[in-house]
Symmetry: C2
Subunit: 182 residues, 2 copies
């Protein structure tokens, strides 16, 4: 047998990589263990070794996605205008770089059909995003930062959805510009 450079962490991570891309393309029901396995050159039983059930896998993907997203946002204590642009840019990258939907936007649309363990992570994603942007909007002098945070996140998720549907970034940029107005 050849020297093996892979290990459990690598394979488990690669499985999540493929799963994330497939979910962000077609949603929870639009991928299978076999599809992931084939793409990685392993067997579906090996995917089950790392993630016992589909719910487990998607929950792990959702948790990693949320953690990375919040981590990429970083500290929210800088200049509000710059922070808002930074927030928007993180959403924009989703569709701009790989033409993918936000993972939790996709799963959020399917929230009534996905396993509760996955839904919990999706809800957490939105709460953490809202809590990141709300104080920024408040510092900017927004009279109702709660409502404006909801409005901004909704506009960005809808902007991603519309941009992918129409096949152009114009709707996203229009939605983002409108929603960031004071």
């Amino acid at each position: 047998m050849q020297t093996r450079e892979s290990n459990a962490v690598d394979t488990a991570g690669r499985i999540m990589d493929v799963a994330e891309r497939l979910i962000r393309t077609g949603g929870y029901d639009a991928f299978s263990f076999r599809e992931i396995a084939t793409e990685l050159g392993i067997k579906s039983a090996s995917v089950h070794y790392h993630y016992a059930t589909k719910a487990d896998l998607v929950a792990a993907v959702a948790k990693r996605y949320t953690d990375r997203f919040i981590d990429a946002l970083g500290d929210n204590s800088g200049d509000p205008e710059h922070m808002i642009d930074h927030f928007i840019a993180n959403y924009r990258a989703s569709v701009a770089h790989e033409n993918l939907m936000c993972l939790c936007g996709m799963l959020g649309a399917e929230i009534a059909r996905i396993p509760p363990s996955v839904a919990d992570h999706v809800i957490q994603f939105f709460h953490q995003n809202l809590e990141w942007i709300r104080p920024v909007l408040a510092r900017r002098g927004d009279p109702d930062p709660y409502a404006s945070a909801y409005a901004l996140v909704a506009a960005l998720e809808g902007g991603l959805l519309l941009a992918r549907s129409i096949g152009s970034l114009v709707p996203f940029d229009a939605a983002a510009r409108q929603a960031r107005r004071l």
Copy 2:
């Protein structure tokens, strides 16, 4: 055999009714011909009699949904403020009355995975919506009605998505109010 009151039109329509609800709950891959058939008390082969393929069925559902939606919007030549409220109300009813996503919002998220015949209808839905609201915004004195139409539709679709995820209408109303500002 009992007296049969059903006919082709009724069954075909009922099939679309069930399909529409299931798609708006979980998306294209989250329902089956068997699920529809069972709910209607018929067999999956009978569903195939009315709609040869899944793509045919979903395309028919998307077309009917778009036609009904545009029909419900009606004439757009009235008072702009009232027309905008009316436009928003049509989206709001989606989640408010049955806790369902907009059909084309759901399919739009999955646009990269659904059959082209379905995707065409989804794109048509958005174009028709944009063309309905754009002149309204223009009459209202909007300096960039194209961008504002994109922003409004994006906000409403995102509002639906977020409202269903969070389990509250507050995000939708916040997004709608923000996006309708001049």
